[in-house]
Symmetry: C2
Subunit: 284 residues, 2 copies
Amino acid sequence: MAFELVSSARCFGGEQRTLRHLSAVTGTPMRLAVFLPPQSSGQRCPMVIYLSGLTCTEDNVMAKAGAQRVAAELGLVFVAPDTSPRGDGVPDDAAWELGQGASYYLDARRMPWATHFRMESYLVDELLPMLCGALPVQASQVGLMGHSMGGHGALTLALRHPSKFRSVSALSPIVAPSQVPWGKKALEAYLGEDEDSWREHDACALLQRHRFDGTLRVDQGDADPFYQEQLQTWLLAQRCEEVGQAADIRIHAGYDHSYFFVASFIEEHLRHHAAALSTGRDKE
Amino acid sequence: MAFELVSSARCFGGEQRTLRHLSAVTGTPMRLAVFLPPQSSGQRCPMVIYLSGLTCTEDNVMAKAGAQRVAAELGLVFVAPDTSPRGDGVPDDAAWELGQGASYYLDARRMPWATHFRMESYLVDELLPMLCGALPVQASQVGLMGHSMGGHGALTLALRHPSKFRSVSALSPIVAPSQVPWGKKALEAYLGEDEDSWREHDACALLQRHRFDGTLRVDQGDADPFYQEQLQTWLLAQRCEEVGQAADIRIHAGYDHSYFFVASFIEEHLRHHAAALSTGRDKE
């Protein structure tokens, strides 16, 4: 299936696109947003995939984060998938932290979710090859980042699929979903009551057996209302220290969970990815 | 009346605020958004007021334009008022280009608009002094800019109140509302059928008698769907040339009317204002 162009706008000398395609994995139409930097008109560029947080679509980061300016400077293709399958035939939940807009980027095993909520397979096995085929990107130079639930997605997918992603970073991520209320609710709904299966989608738990061959860059605001109960960034810092995972985890005084925080620090994240992707030094 | 704090978030080392106050001029509560750069915690800073376009609120530019990064670097207080009075007791129109969200930044003379739609007096006589009193700003160093209908507002208010604003710029502005469909509809609704009164709120017409003591900086995309019929930027360029008004009017290939355009060029506008406001050379 090919991408269909929904909209296009010039932005910082490059092109901002919204695309749509019918996913064989989720069984639904899926939307995504893509920024093509000016450099990509003449050559293949590294790509950074950004996974968004609860309730977001592919649009939020493209409208609010200011990523395009930096991606245009650095020559990065910047891609934002949607946060879940959507539509009338797709199950949902009345709570905003479960169902549509809240996939947790895993393959659900329980009904009613298991039919469509297969975001891990969608992203890794379907969308990533499609992007590498359809866009001017270097398939060996792909970074993964995310915000909040998308930070969880970035950390877990990079640890689970280390051959696919050469760099990883997260803003305000959920780092230990099997230990916090949001995560427990979602993991039980999607995977069932076997808590061993939850730990396969928990960055702190995965780090007991997996390493990422590169530095985990993480930023977190200490005025984030979800910091103490849902995010608990210190658990990731402790685990990285215990197991010897390279990590650069920074706590920022006064910042909250909003896109004002994301916008303030996304430049540093994109520079982290560009450095790793252009030199390959994070993945020799 | 004092400002009430609706929300606050740290952003690029400064503070993003949404404020609300009861306006004596419009007779309604009014909202606005303010970015205070880090420099403003220790000193008074120049201020740029941004007037938004049709259908916008005080939120759009703050969420989408990436202005805070540049304002934080340059030490500019950046303020976005709402685009009209709003609320249950305020008249409106079914069309999106008239009524709430579409004030045209003038004082309406016809009913039902005349009671509340007094945005020119609100901005110049009420909000501006309030901002200078309540925020760490230099009252003599204020710039005015806007997008689309807000570009019209910036150009006309700067020409009508030259002692208040030392620098002016516009992105995708309506430059001759008395000659184009959007503008004719609004000016007739708000001012009545006397077309002489329309020209008091038309930048191209005002330039026949007024000059701005500084350069009008204007940027416009040539793929903007409103360019040919509603904006007609060339009318402003011709008028500035005829009357000897300093102007820097740039047409950009491929850009549309969206905030992807605004985001791409707002840095240049803020640097234009910062240069004029810090040196005062545009208003010796």
